[in-house]
Homo-oligomer: 468 residues x 2
């Protein structure tokens, strides 16, 4: 019986596992750092207080419960030994016959790692709830303050990056401030909120047609979002953003400008040790990891063969955001859910073909189009030659996203949340949840960090012993 | 126009505010550390992965949005100056004509503050998600380990305190391990999970009749919960609990044994300074806070007059869990939602009577009965002379809790979650969410604390700069 190890329970890993589930001659171990599969395309709605984390996340082991040949382990993979055909995780060692790496991507700040603190990205649930906390806290702080300059800074939101995520975030902030929050505050007029979407390229949604991108920009502007194309963020700190020559005072900056493949360099090769690589983020070519013959593209993704395997290692596959697949179009496939889903399934099929003694095929991505939503009744879509926008595109977006969401209940809940928000203009998850779980007491300030611009002390420092 | 300041947006504060909303001669400011009102009675379901935090929490300002004479401020009250008739908060100072303090209660570890780390309580959303994280992580860790002793420790859950919360928690863990998780694991049989409910008194649910308490204990035992009455927890650490002479090796201990009123001593009097009080938690009498003439009972609650005002200060009221009201029965009223709701409304009525020049009345609590749920189709209820249990009590419990939940959508969602869980035996929110929001990377371990028994480093230490 062959042992397949899958690292990562995202779109690629989960779909590969599902396809391998129930087979007789394969035993599968899926390892993920989280116990849940996250439906990334709707994560921005968690950040924007529209959905709860549990609405878009499903426990991986309950999705795969019926596949008795699959065991799911929550854990961190620390290294891959290609010679010994084994994976080392924090809970032990797993030998494999086949390996599928699909650890996804992580935010890239183009060498400015210190920006993350002031401009969180949106890849994980904790990041989404952190963004939600910052966003809602800014309005609360603006309501409390009497200083007009502070208030203006608090009511200025900057989103960096004009891709689909940036557009969704900026649109949602605009919509929230104009509709959801408008009646709830006494001292501030939330409709005066400034939302600025900064894009370094000449236009937002560069993967869409110019016409569609222009439509999206107009829709954003109707929601009060200022779109600044051809603008590079050159500095971000706690007070705001330096955007080209202009300084924007803002207390809430969000980063949607770049991602790169999760580090595989330290993974394949000597565990824990980072090979010395040149900083080639803005460079041009493909570089070779010295410790092993794994090629990475400039986005940190693993360059894979036509069958998604690593050159020279036909039983080791990389899929999803972590893979750089260029054989079909010359340019790498984008890091989207459809690519990951199809690649995950393809790898499972390839393993089955191997076991059946059939020859391998080359992966081909079937592009079913792309969509981006701007807000209520506003979206752009391109499906094949079809290009459409507005209400119909928005409904299409809704249907497609609900269709792909894992789990019947999650689908039902998300539809309900959306229907309720559509009718009432409200948002279902407007909670500012503190990070510290210990009880801080009412009189004391400790343990409470519902405010921005406050450093979170270490766990032991916030110890209050407030109970006696 | 009179200014009423309400500190705390729980059941008492929110109900007082609602009653005062829309009045012409009153201006109200409600201050709360959170931006949401939490429906405490269902918080255990968030901890037990059945509901999401947003399902039982509503933004206070959206509940009160239509009351234009009420402004809501998120902030921490640091002191009350009774002479100057002002409240000092972290955002500034508020002068009041009337003050209502209703900051609720906090866990009490009877002088063993160090136990909190190993045995979290259930009062806030972060605590609930922390308990959820520990509970689910224990099963994940048990699935990973090969050592039978470690596995046994991981699959032993101890709940300390046999009141309604302890019974609900223990019952839910028993149910979850027997039904929800049973099919999802490969290496462990979750049905062998040990759940131990420790109660220091002679029986659980001491406020119920003996017959009902015995029924609840039988129901718990059917779910695999061992009930240990007459047992005192004398020590709790990371390895387990010393329960009387017996040592229980357990990696997940929950505390539901005691609460006390949120410190008002530091609040009224010199801000930030704690008057030196003797440790009278297990003592007998009422003590006097030396800094002001505010009497606290041994549970840290403020002893109030018949009209819920502080003796000598007729315009300062205390209500809910923070108040000790003994005029009706001799014994203090319990810290339950019905008491808080009725007291909040009473204070609002009293202020209205004052303004209308009418004499004050004494507060009288109308007891409509009590209920506790043990699990699926299992509950006990006492309404007036009526005592019932089983399925009918459980349905009554459901209906009453949904009825009192704030907000139509939350009601609908909770009903849906419950219906779905009832039919499928599943739980809707089985997420283990890390506390750290920064991106840790796949290869690195940093920023990840999905595991138990791991200290959470300070924010800056987990800085990984993983993006390049």
């Amino acid at each position: 019986m062959k042992h397949v190890v899958i690292v990562g329970g995202g779109f690629a890993g989960l779909n590969a596992a599902k396809k391998l589930g129930g087979l007789r001659d394969v035993r599968v171990t899926l390892v993920d750092r989280q116990n849940y599969h996250l439906f990334q395309p709707l994560l921005y709605q968690v950040a924007m207080a529209g959905l709860s984390p549990a609405d878009i996340a499903t426990p991986i082991r309950s999705v795969l419960a019926r596949c008795h040949n699959i065991s799911v382990l929550q854990g961190s993979v620390e290294g891959v030994d290609l010679q010994a055909q084994a994976v080392s995780a924090d809970f032990g060692r797993l030998e494999f016959d086949y390996l599928l790496l699909c650890c996804g991507s992580m935010p890239s700040y183009f060498g400015h790692g210190d920006w993350e603190e002031h401009a969180p990205s949106l890849k994980t649930i904790p990041q989404a709830t952190e963004i939600r906390r910052r966003l809602l806290s800014a309005f609360e702080a603006a309501e409390r303050t009497d200083d007009p300059e502070t208030r203006r800074k608090l009511l200025t939101f900057v989103v960096i990056g004009g891709g689909p995520t940036g557009v969704e975030l900026a649109g949602a902030i605009g919509e929230m401030s104009r509709f959801t929050l408008a009646r709830d505050f006494r001292n501030i007029d939330t409709r005066l909120t400034r939302v600025i979407l900064i894009e370094s390229g000449p236009r937002i949604l560069s993967m869409f047609s110019e016409q569609q991108a222009a439509r999206a920009a107009r829709d954003l502007e109707k929601l009060g979002v200022q779109v600044w194309p051809n603008t590079l963020a050159t500095d971000i700190d706690e007070h705001g953003v330096q955007a080209g020559p202009e300084r924007i005072a803002s207390s809430t900056v969000l980063w949607a400008a770049g991602v790169r493949g999760v580090e595989v360099a330290g993974l394949i090769g000597r565990p824990g040790q980072q090979p010395e690589r040149a900083q080639t983020d803005r460079g041009s070519g493909v570089e070779t990891d010295r410790s092993e013959s794994v090629k990475l593209d400039r986005g940190g993704r693993v360059v894979v063969d036509e069958d998604l395997s690593i050159p020279g290692h036909p039983n080791v596959f990389v899929a999803g955001d972590q893979a750089c697949f260029t054989h079909q179009t010359g340019a790498p496939l984008p890091g989207t859910a459809p690519v990951a889903i199809q690649q995950g399934r393809f790898v499972a099929r390839t393993i089955c073909r191997d076991l059946a003694g059939k020859p391998r095929e080359a992966f081909r991505f079937v592009d079913r189009g792309q969509m981006a939503t701007i807000g209520r009744s506003r979206a752009v879509a391109e499906i094949g030659r079809l290009r459409f926008s507005g209400w119909f595109a928005w409904i299409t977006w809704l249907v497609v996203h609900v269709y792909f969401l894992v789990g019947f209940k999650n689908r039902l809940l998300v539809v309900l949340h959306w229907a309720w928000s559509y009718v009432t203009f409200r948002r279902g998850a407007r909670l500012i949840v503190e990070r510290e779980w210990r009880f801080g007491g009412c009189a004391g300030q400790d343990g409470r960090d519902g405010r921005k611009d406050k450093t979170v002390p270490a766990r032991d420092e916030t110890r209050t012993d407030g109970e006696e």
